[in-house]
Amino acid sequence: MTDGLRVVVDRDACCGSGNCVRTAPEVFDQDDAEGLVVLRQPEPPERLHGAVREAAYNCPAGAIEVVEQRPGGAA
């Protein structure tokens, strides 16, 4: 089993830049009313991990946190 990864977003901090949606559309979306980030899957599969880390790094507002998880579930 490989290490897991959990994504946490902070909608209060989000400025709706849409960078994350461009980088990892399978993981992030924006709502229609205010354009704030919506998490589509909090524990994306491994093939998306690179894109998710890039999205967190490039989030202008620092609203995306990536929590690396150990096998067995302990964060």
Binding site: C15, G16, S17, V21, Q30, E34, G35, P60
Partner: protein, 399 residues
């Protein structure tokens, strides 16, 4: 950062003085931070490193409001210049947050997609008009300027027939050499023009952004008429000046890199990476972003005091060798995802999905439809615009 010698401080903005105008010039003290003297006589700290600028622009300890004491003005303002209502780019939270959320959905990626056929048609028509103009023709006049102008007009509901007027106002406003009183008059003219339009759309709404805000947000009290006028003014200026300068410069840079242009023509799917690399390489908001510290704070290990003015030099960060190998080279295979051409932090460009769609479609069509496109001028003789947003004045081409 006190105690620094204040003599021999370079003046800012830096001139290009015969150096390659595509390369930004900056002075720093070896640690990526320099001090500069602004035209107002005020001193400001200039940040040039990618990591420092990320930290600075994400920090809540800085304000974008130019009426705050210590704000680093890159050019003098007319006396008692008020902060215009609705000018999102000059607001801080929580006011900024409210306006930003109101506007974001209008420019979201998914809401830009339906606009793509219109952008493509606008581009194709412009190429036809360029052809009809006869060779050589000015690419700026016939392509780079009209395409983004027509698109933003469509989006906002501004009649394109008025373009001579609003383009003239915004050029005057953005040129460095414009005296403060004249710049103020230009912005007031633009606001008066848009006030007329808002008034009209309140009575006869159409299917456009100004009409939507006028019908949905004025009645609820979420926006005042003055704020709507201010927002529209900002969008009209930001919506055509930036993309238009990118189109002119991008065409020039691609024509000067024939090997890479050939690869782009052979593999059109490279266009997304090409656009990102052009954004990085050109960084048209060349004089950087200005902020004032509102608290004592630290950026990149440098202590700053409340009231200190800072400049985040995006053009330097976008060539930082810690992040971009051989950053002074244009390389469309670089995959420049970390560039900050659209800024960073909560003010990061709200129009970036639109700008990217326009650049991708316009450059793609231009180089496909005009396979023999070439500069009709020696690159050394190209005239640059001495303005807040960097660009070429004219770009004579043949095809």
């Amino acid at each position: 950062m006190t105690g620094m010698l204040e003599t021999n401080v370079p003046s800012y903005p830096f001139g290009n003085d015969g150096l390659d105008p595509l390369l930004p010039h900056f002075a720093e003290n070896g640690d990526g931070v320099g001090q500069v003297r602004l035209p107002t006589g005020q001193l400001a700290f200039l940040f040039t490193r990618h990591d420092h600028i990320r930290e600075l622009l994400r920090s809540p300890d800085f304000s974008s409001d130019f009426t705050r004491p210590g704000f680093p003005l890159i050019r003098p303002l007319a006396e008692d210049m008020p902060r215009p209502d609705g000018s999102l780019i000059r607001m801080d939270p929580p006011e900024h947050t409210k306006f930003r959320r109101l506007l974001t959905p209008e420019f979201m990626i998914k809401n830009m997609r339906p606009l793509e056929p219109l952008i493509r048609q606008t581009v194709v028509d412009a190429i036809e008009r360029l052809r009809a103009a006869g060779q050589p023709a000015d690419l700026v006049e016939h392509f780079a300027l009209p395409v983004p102008s027509m698109v933003i007009c469509h989006l906002l509901g501004v009649p394109y027939a008025d373009h001579d007027y609003f383009q003239e106002c915004s050029r005057t406003l953005l040129a460095w050499k414009t005296p403060p009183e004249q710049a103020r008059a230009a912005i007031e003219d633009l606001r008066a023009y848009l006030a007329g339009l808002v008034d009209k759309r309140m009575r006869e709404p159409g299917d456009d952004l100004i009409s939507r805000l006028a019908t949905e947000r004025l009645a609820t009290g979420e926006l005042t008429v003055d704020e709507l006028v201010g927002l529209s003014t900002l969008l009209l200026i930001a919506g055509h000046e930036t993309t238009s300068n990118m189109l002119g410069l991008s065409t020039m840079v691609l024509l000067q890199h024939p090997d890479q242009l050939r690869q782009l023509r052979e593999r059109p799917e490279l266009v997304d990476d090409t656009v990102e690399e052009l954004l990085r390489y050109l960084t048209i908001v060349r004089t950087g972003l200005t902020r004032v510290a509102v608290n004592d704070t630290v950026v990149g290990g440098h202590a700053l005091k409340a009231g200190d003015g800072v400049i985040a030099l995006l053009s330097a960060a976008n060539r930082d060798s810690d992040v971009f190998r051989e950053g002074e080279e244009f390389d469309l295979h670089r995959g420049s995802h970390q560039h900050m051409a659209f800024g960073f932090g909560i003010h990061q460009c709200i129009g970036q999905p639109l700008a990217r769609a326009e650049l991708r479609i316009a450059l793609g069509e231009l180089f496909t439809r005009l396979p023999a496109l070439a500069l009709a001028v020696d690159p050394a003789d190209v005239e640059y615009r001495d303005a807040v947003v960097f660009g070429v004045q004219r770009l004579p081409v043949t095809w």
